[in-house]
């Protein structure tokens, strides 16, 4: 393998007394889809801004495309495509103009920009809106324009900060499908997300970030294998008087763990999670104990469970 496209060692970012990124090591290889998964405030966006060569690191080593962002910022940015968390399109321009003016910053000949703009609008399925102003477009369409704009310089790496946050389910799926195509073309994707399904869909490899640090690293399957059980049995109980909620039933499940029918019990405000290799068997034992949950669900483990295990908190509150 050649040099990684992004290499960070002990990367730190502080704002005054607040440490947003607290010493992270990251290697991102050419062609891979790499994700930063974590809740809001974990330091994902700050990391992305450093990788985007727009925010100087406070400490540590950072190399992007083999270059030092403190010295070669413009040269690095010339080869990146950036999709920020909040769309920052020029609302006074049309869809097409947004791409045309953006291409100029990369020193591309006008004819090349025109050609690519047409191709990219086709790629994000917005050719019929090319002449429309950006302002009245839907959130999903604006996002697609932003992605098209990020590709106008044919970047080596595309940075996507929370690419589908705030979009409705259908718009998310359209976007995922487009991003998947990019990935298949060999474009390196680096994305942040607090959606586990997004991370599972798009990332070959990811790091789980919490409070500025990396809590774990691996492919989605590896992370689940390392930090969770095969299945999860979710139990909801009626809220008791006085509001002890699900916690009141946790003790009653202790015998299951003692017998090995479940590995671990997590108590959430509204439900209990029983981590086990066989969810249906565990559920039978719960019922055999005489417990009567209001509802139950047996499912496969997800990255949400990995996160819960690593940090004791849920991703999306």
């Amino acid at each position: 393998m050649g040099e990684p496209l992004v290499r960070a060692r002990g990367l730190v970012k502080r704002f005054g007394g607040y440490t947003a990124v607290d010493g992270i090591d990251v290697d991102i290889a050419p062609g891979e889809s790499f994700g930063f998964l974590g809740p809001n405030g974990a330091g994902k966006s700050t990391t992305m801004r450093m990788v985007g060569a727009v925010s100087p690191p406070t400490a540590g080593e950072l190399r992007i495309l083999g270059m030092d962002p403190a010295v070669d910022g413009p040269a690095i940015r010339a080869r990146l495509g950036v999709v920020p968390q909040t769309d920052n399109l020029d609302l006074e321009l049309t869809v097409e103009e947004n791409l045309l003016v953006y291409g100029r910053y990369f020193g591309l000949p006008r004819a090349t920009v025109r050609e690519r703009t047409a191709e990219l609008l086709d790629f994000v399925q917005l050719t019929d809106r090319a002449k429309d102003r950006v302002e009245p477009l839907s959130g999903g369409m604006k996002r697609r324009v932003t992605i098209a704009r990020a590709l106008v310089n044919e970047p080596d790496v595309v940075l996507l900060d929370e690419p589908t946050t705030g979009l409705d389910p259908q718009a998310r799926h359209v976007l995922w499908e487009r991003l998947y195509r990019l990935k298949q073309r060999g474009v390196t994707l680096v994305l942040t997300t607090h959606y586990m399904d997004e991370a599972e869909q798009l990332c070959d490899r990811l790091v789980v970030m919490d409070r500025g640090r990396i809590a774990a690293e691996g492919s989605p399957a590896e992370l689940i294998a390392a930090w969770s059980t095969r299945e999860v049995c979710e139990l909801r109980f009626p809220l008791t008087e006085g509001g002890a909620g699900a916690a009141a039933h946790a003790d009653a499940l202790a015998p299951l763990v003692a017998r090995g029918a479940a590995e671990r019990v997590e108590v959430l405000p509204d439900r209990l999670l029983l981590y086990t290799a066989d969810g249906d068997a565990a559920l039978s034992e719960v019922l055999a104990l005489g417990l009567r949950p209001l509802s139950s669900l047996v499912r496969r483990s997800s990255l949400e469970d990995v996160f819960l295990r690593l940090t004791g908190r849920t991703l999306v509150d």
Binding site: F15, V54, A75, N88, L89, E92, L93, E97, N153
Partner: protein, 258 residues
């Protein structure tokens, strides 16, 4: 000094947007001075001309016209450097998008000032045409007011940009307009010689960049300019432009590169 390719790209971006709304922005930048020209120059002017008149033995309209042209440049430059700059930083995040390209904050500032220069100069030129149609131009020398309008515009655009780059809320722009721009417009020699003012206000007028722009434009238009005072006016306006640009560059760098 040639602007960087990135600065020119930003200018191109702003001009592309301008193509969509040039009618309304031109209307704002030209209509207002024309209304003042009509209201003050024609009606009030006829009273003034029947009395002792303005110094220099010219009609009031010829006295007023260069002043209005420069004052309009101040208004246009201030307008383009206040809300649009804060908006580009905070609301639309236009600057963030540009800085994701090879461009640097300094390129944004240069491109922005080039755009303001374009807006001020084209508006002033349009107003100049109106002046000629009104018969308010003292003579062909009135065309020399254009570079003065440009320089005065920059002397306002640069410090106002510096101010906008430090703001979180837009309320300060209303205060700027109310407590600085409007008083300058009224008391910095646009409508009457500042010698008419009480001494303290007269010195306030001398300290404003607008007075220097108005005085220089008027001297040039009426053919009464002297090298010494002209150089002082140009120097003072250049000083505001340079200091404002330096402050704006620093403020943008701090705000955008964190």
């Amino acid at each position: 000094m040639v602007p960087s390719p990135a600065a020119r790209s930003f200018l191109a971006q702003r001009l592309t947007a301008h193509r969509h709304f040039w009618r309304s922005s031109a209307l704002g930048s030209v209509l207002e001075p024309v209304l003042f020209l009509a209201a003050m120059g024609l009606t009030l002017g006829s009273l003034v001309d029947r009395g002792p008149g303005v110094p220099g033995g010219v009609g009031y309209l010829a006295f007023l016209a260069p002043g209005l042209l420069v004052a309009a440049a101040m208004q246009t430059a201030t307008g383009e450097s206040s809300y649009p700059v804060l908006g580009a930083l905070k609301w639309d995040r236009l600057y963030e998008a540009v800085l994701a390209t090879p461009a640097r904050p300094g390129d944004l500032l240069t491109g922005h000032l080039l755009y303001v220069a374009f807006r001020v100069t084209t508006s002033a030129a349009a107003f100049l045409v109106v002046l000629v149609l009104f018969g308010a131009a003292a003579g062909p020398l009135v065309v020399l007011t254009l570079p003065v309008a440009l320089l005065t515009g920059l002397a306002f655009a640069a410090p106002v940009t510096a101010m906008a780059a430090r703001l979180e809320e837009d309320a300060a722009f209303a205060a700027l307009q109310r407590f600085l721009i409007v008083p300058m417009f009224l008391f910095s020699g646009t409508f009457f010689p500042v010698a008419q003012l009480p001494l303290a206000l007269e010195w306030f007028a001398y300290a404003t960049p607008l007075w220097h722009g108005v005085a220089l434009a008027r001297d040039l238009a009426l053919g009464t300019a002297e090298a010494g005072s002209a150089l002082r006016h140009v120097g003072y306006l250049a000083l505001w432009t340079a200091a404002g640009t330096w402050l704006a560059a620093r403020a943008l760098q701090r705000r955008l590169v964190r």
